[in-house]
């Protein structure tokens, strides 16, 4: 049996809804802020869509609008992941910070 394309899309959508709820259902309130920020970065994947539409257009105005969309989407994606990492770094730093007090340099930040 071959599924209609629309049904395939609907299936992916519905399953993703359940997965999305299931994976975060046990989050503690301590992590609400980083989780929101991390999820925020993930929807920055619209950058992929922005690159695809901008790179296939012939129209100059569309090119300009597309480039604006790329700038906005990159801010969302890159900024989102970096800021989340910065927050989480503070949670992680707590344990080693108790022993050697010298390890105070601000390292890290994935892009």
């Amino acid at each position: 049996m071959i599924l209609a394309t629309g049904v395939v899309w609907l299936t992916i959508f519905v399953l993703s809804v359940f997965v999305g709820i299931e994976v975060i259902s046990k989050v503690s309130s301590t992590l609400h802020t980083p989780l929101m920020s991390g999820a925020n970065a993930i929807h920055g994947i619209i950058l992929l869509g922005a690159i695809l539409v901008t790179g296939t257009t012939d129209n100059n105005l569309a090119l300009v609008v597309g480039l604006i969309a790329i700038v906005l989407a990159s801010v969302n994606m890159v900024g989102g992941f970096v800021v989340t990492d910065r927050m989480l770094q503070m949670f992680a730093r707590r344990k080693p910070a108790e022993k050697p007090a010298s390890k105070k340099d601000e390292t890290g930040g994935a892009a």
Partner: protein, 461 residues
């Protein structure tokens, strides 16, 4: 699309699921985030390796990515931890704006090439444009409210609810029209209506509820990206957007529950003309003030002290002095804990981040449910820069905007020291009865300054 790229997208989708899963546990959170970042970067590289696509304008695209990356990294690295909520709002807003523009461009390409699509594709396009624009404008207002660029109190004006209804109606009618007969101008108009709708949605929301709105708009942008994925026939965008939309909606409900509010009440409370407006002015009722030396004696000779930190603590950058004070009290044999309200700070979990920055040991941070029973055995509660989270009006005054929000039972302690800069009400704009309680002493002054004096006074005991 080549099969191998489709498989890469599938792998990236799985990585996003694992990233969200990781982010919801304290030990795995950082790795989860890094995994998500790697997947996102890999996915965005794919168009450059996809030879059949004949990607053009590559140098311009790379320059645009570079500009966005530099801006994003700069913002993310320089933002103060206290300003985190508005940063998240900003990043979310630009993502929503980008999604709306992408859908607009895709529509433009299809219309100018005279490609006929299923009406459902056009409907999804309309959804992406309206909701993306809503998210953009809503996030901009949220940013302005949190950054004190405008009042954080609810903005309502006569006829707001009618305007709100008309805008919503227009969005629906134009979306239907676009689904039947797509045109670029109609789509642009729809985008403008989306912007107006975002404005009207967030303006009436009061300051204390803004974090919930950030979370909701985050979910909106997720759904926008999902719809955009359908429009572009890109499975990865559909999966990632839906994941964020679903988890964001769920997270919004969790947060609203932690504040004892319903999402509908937060969004439409002010529209119904309820009394979400607080007094917003300083009261001149008599209060008892205390100097740092006397406060030091109260703290230094107590057996049990609970600290209630709030956003004001972090704004004044007093958390380092506070940690030192707690250390000194600990050396004197006083048992000290921090009571963390779930919405202390300006976002759920924000206070934990702020105290972690000051390297407060995790074991001293106690969550509300865990510590609320301990207040009756507590000699002194020290409230620093917090207000609404200890306001008994949440229990006693049904008309108050924070009514129903679970609070820390600071009023049950034997003595209360309130460190305050002035008598101005908290973020929710309502007066706090606890300030006038006979057990309460107020230590006026800038939190950092007072904390330094208090610390020296305790050391001198």
């Amino acid at each position: 699309m080549p099969t191998w790229i489709q498989l890469v997208f599938l792998a990236c989708g799985v990585c996003f699921i694992l990233a969200l899963k990781g982010l919801s546990g304290p030990k795995t959170a950082r790795n989860g985030n890094i995994l998500g970042a790697i997947a996102a970067v890999v996915a965005c590289l794919m168009p450059f390796f996809w030879s059949d696509l004949h990607l053009r304008h590559v140098p311009l695209i790379i320059i645009a990515i570079a500009i966005g990356t530099i801006g994003g990294v700069y913002g993310a690295r320089t933002v103060q931890m206290t300003q985190m909520p508005q940063m998240v709002a900003l990043f979310n807003g630009v993502g929503g704006g980008a999604a709306a523009l992408v859908a607009l461009l895709e529509l433009h390409e299809h219309v100018s090439a005279d490609i006929h699509e299923n009406w459902f594709v056009w409907a999804a396009t309309a959804f992406t444009i309206v909701v993306g624009a809503t998210s953009f404008a809503g996030s901009a207002i949220t940013f302005a409210k949190l950054q004190d660029l405008m009042t954080s109190r609810p903005v309502v004006f006569p006829g707001l609810r009618y305007l709100f209804g008309i805008t919503l109606g227009a969005a629906v009618v134009l979306s239907v029209r676009l689904a039947i007969a797509p045109s670029v101008w109609l789509a642009v108009l729809l985008g403008l209506i989306g912007l107006l709708f975002g404005l009207l949605l967030v303006l009436p929301v009061g300051g204390a509820d803004v974090p919930i709105v950030i979370s909701l708009l985050n979910a909106f942008t997720g759904l926008t990206v999902a719809a955009g994925g359908y429009v572009l026939s890109n499975v990865l965008l559909l999966i990632a957007g839906t994941l964020v939309g679903a988890s964001g909606t769920f997270l919004t409900l969790l947060m609203a529950r932690a504040m004892g509010r319903s999402v509908a009440n937060i969004l439409f409370g002010a529209l119904k003309g309820g009394s979400t407006l607080g007094a917003g002015v300083a009261s001149d009722r008599p209060v008892k003030s205390v100097n740092p030396e006397d406060a030091a004696i109260m703290l230094g000779y107590a057996d049990r002290v609970i600290i209630v930190p709030g956003y004001g603590l972090a704004v004044a950058q007093a958390q380092h002095s506070l940690r030192e004070l707690v250390d000194v009290l600990g050396e004197r044999g006083v048992q000290v804990d921090y009571a963390i309200h779930p919405v202390a700070g300006r976002m759920p979990g924000h206070m934990n981040v702020l105290l972690a920055e000051a390297q407060v040991p995790y074991e001293q941070l106690r969550e509300m449910d865990e510590i609320n029973g301990d207040f009756t055995d507590t000699d002194v509660v020290l409230i620093v820069g917090a207000n609404d989270v200890v306001n008994p009006a949440a229990k006693s005054t049904p008309g108050a905007p924070i009514y129903g929000m679970p609070i820390l039972n600071a009023d049950e302690a034997r003595q209360i020291i309130f460190m305050k800069r002035s008598m101005r009400p908290g973020f929710a704009g309502i007066e706090n009865e606890l300030l006038f309680d006979e057990k309460t002493s107020l230590l006026f002054g800038d939190a950092k300054d007072s904390m330094g004096k208090l610390l020296n006074a305790v050391k001198a005991l």
